[in-house]
């Protein structure tokens, strides 16, 4: 194992912010650590002598020209990861974003997580209708082409399935990756029409309290949403990161409820029925309800909790050499913006403030990082987020103490990544 030069280590020790190697975040912005790469600082000493750089082959051959729809480099192929569905029912299931390989805050459309209950419908927008009816003055039907003529807004929002991180509530100790354990969260710029504009066009009657939103997939999946949310910041989203919403995200249009459990943002939206009471759909009774130790179950748990996660180094990665690492991850909250992210390298005994690298938008992912010097000793890396409402991300023990282990939904717990002396990173429970 090669260590960084002694002089550099000593200087950095002065800037320790927490035990076990966490260093001041200002080093990430300073020239002193200019060489500290994504994975680790290259040792100053021990460089290969006699390197002679030559012009590479690709600089001597003209490449292919433009393409109608670009793709990623053959050397940087990222993939969603699908779970094992029911073989008799291939359309149901989920796929997860490769969080450990992404940077910044925006999830590319091809890598946005998916959850379908009856596969992706092949919708021709010319035949798709959005109907608003029920407790309205005038039931209305909208064509896709007409909806494109409305005033739109664009907002960056995270979307998280309330089943995300549910595996951590099981008794077992899943040897997973950031993707397999937490990949049911993504973040995109969503462009669309405030739902309130369309509801007001139909004229909501005073006795209305809820809306039922139904998709045009083969499951005609439905969810009940309080009218207050629908009139506040819900969107009829038509675009995702600038292009028409992807089929697996609801093309030609989806409901988007910022900050709320993903399933409420009904894809392929075709029906909005304004009602007095919730409709008690299967996916808000049988599923997406949280059963507590006393066997009562929480229903209509909408906002996603404040949460963060170290994406690098993370499960099944390996730190191969002592030195300085950029520990980085993402944080988000359904209750507002992220105010602070702290990182611990000693399993939560001491914490240091991470640098927030991105904008701190409401209900959107932020990217954080902090330098960490690994000296080859065991460590447990954790991150802990605080949101603008003052909510602090809880430990796994606190989540289990509050909600037990029957429940699989809404788990915002602090993720602990253990690093052993061989540098192997795994999910650990403390």
């Amino acid at each position: 194992m090669t260590k960084s030069s002694k002089g550099q280590n000593k200087a950095l020790d002065l800037d320790r912010v927490a035990a076990n190697g966490l260093l001041s975040r200002r080093h990430l912005l300073s020239a002193a650590l200019g060489g500290a790469g994504l994975t680790m600082a290259r040792p100053v000493i021990g460089q290969e002598p006699g390197i002679k750089l030559e012009i590479p082959a690709w600089s001597k051959t003209p490449g292919p020209g433009t393409s109608p729809y670009g793709s990623s480099s053959a050397h940087a192929q990222l993939e969603r990861q699908s779970g094992f569905g029911n073989p008799l029912y291939p359309g149901g299931g989920a796929s997860r974003s490769p969080l450990q390989h992404l940077q910044g805050t925006i999830t590319p459309n091809s890598l946005h997580f998916e959850r379908h209950h009856a596969g992706i419908p092949a919708i021709d927008p010319a035949g798709h209708k959005l109907v608003i009816h029920g407790l309205v003055r005038q039931p209305l039907m909208f064509d896709y082409e007409d909806l494109l003529k409305y005033q739109m807004v664009s907002k960056i929002y995270f979307l998280e399935c309330s089943g995300n991180s549910g595996a951590l509530l099981y008794g077992g100790n899943p040897d997973g990756t950031a993707q397999s354990l937490h990949g049911l969260v993504s973040c995109a710029e969503w462009t669309g029409i405030p739902l309130s504009v369309l509801l007001e066009e139909a004229g909501v009657l005073p006795e209305a309290r809820w809306i039922a939103a139904v998709g045009a997939d083969a499951a005609s999946m439905g969810r009940s949403i309080p009218l207050d949310k629908a009139m506040d910041d819900s969107l009829l989203a038509l675009f995702q990161n600038g292009e028409p919403v992807r089929p697996e995200q609801g093309y030609p249009m989806r409901l988007f409820n910022p900050g709320w459990e993903g399933n409420t943002s009904v894809k392929w939206l075709t029906q909005i029925k304004v009602t007095r009471n919730p409709l008690q759909f299967r996916d808000e009774t049988s599923k997406y309800t949280d059963t507590l130790p006393d066997r009562s179950s929480l229903q209509f748990t909408f906002p996603m909790d404040v949460k963060s996660l170290i994406t690098s180094p993370s499960g099944q990665m390996r730190v191969t050499q002592g030195g300085i690492y950029r520990v980085t991850g993402v944080a988000w909250s359904g209750a507002g913006s992220i105010r602070r992210v702290e990182v611990s390298a000693d399993g939560g005994q001491t914490w240091g403030d991470a640098l927030i690298e991105s904008q701190q938008l409401d209900k959107a992912l932020v990217r954080f990082s902090i330098p960490w010097r690994w000296d080859g000793a065991p460590a447990v890396l954790q991150s802990r987020a605080t949101d603008s409402a003052g909510n602090v991300q809880p430990t796994r023990d606190a989540v289990i103490a509050a909600k037990g282990t029957i429940n699989r939904y809404h788990n915002p717990c602090i993720q602990s990544w253990g690093v052993n002396t061989a540098g192997e990173v795994t999910n650990v429970y403390l």
Binding site: P139, L140, Q151, A212, V214, A219, N277, L279, L298
Partner: protein, 178 residues
């Protein structure tokens, strides 16, 4: 040059934090086509807990057995025992010492959801292929397998939503937290 008049629906846009000036012409974009509730009779599949939205028709569990065996048992087993965690339709007890098996019988708070869900989403390999009559029959059969109705009890728009579900009181509404 446009003459921008005023903020469009200040209340709406405030929620988005977007300062957006809109011309008078755009302000009047209202392209919804009027439609009557009657014309949505086939389109609206919502069957409500209070009985609204249930179609005409009747069915008993005895009539539903054959449909279940031919159209549902492939994935749910002849007795609703399922072939995966997601396809168990029968059994469980919310007060069991172990983690409770949560099914239509042990967990679901409303019988209306059984009809509503089967009509919109099942059988999973051919959703919406059952007639309303068949849906009543097979919904009755699922309730019967769970011991919630008798084999010859007639299920229709009035009786089905009234079926007493054991875990009806088991849910705590959190919708005030937004």
């Amino acid at each position: 040059m446009f003459t921008y008049k005023r903020l469009l629906k200040a209340s709406t846009l405030a929620a988005y934090g977007v300062a957006m000036l809109v011309s008078t012409a755009q302000e009047q974009v209202k392209l919804g086509q009027t439609i009557s509730e009657a014309s949505l009779a086939e389109f609206d599949l919502i069957a409500e807990p209070g009985g609204m939205g249930f179609p005409p028709g009747t069915g008993t569990a005895r009539q539903g057995r054959t449909i279940f065996e031919t159209r549902c048992a492939l994935c749910h087993g002849s007795n609703g025992e399922g072939n995966s965690a997601a396809t168990v339709l029968v059994g469980g007890n919310m007060q069991s010492t172990d983690s409770p098996l949560r099914t239509v019988g042990s967990y679901w708070p409303y019988a209306s959801t059984v009809f509503d869900f089967i009509r919109r989403a099942m059988p999973a390999n051919a959703p919406k292929s059952l007639t309303d009559e068949e849906t009543y029959q097979v919904a009755a059969y699922v309730l019967y397998l769970n011991g919630l109705v008798a084999e010859d009890e007639i299920m229709n728009a009035q009786s089905l939503p009234q079926v007493r579900m054991p875990n009806a009181e088991g849910f705590i509404d959190q919708s005030h937290i937004q």
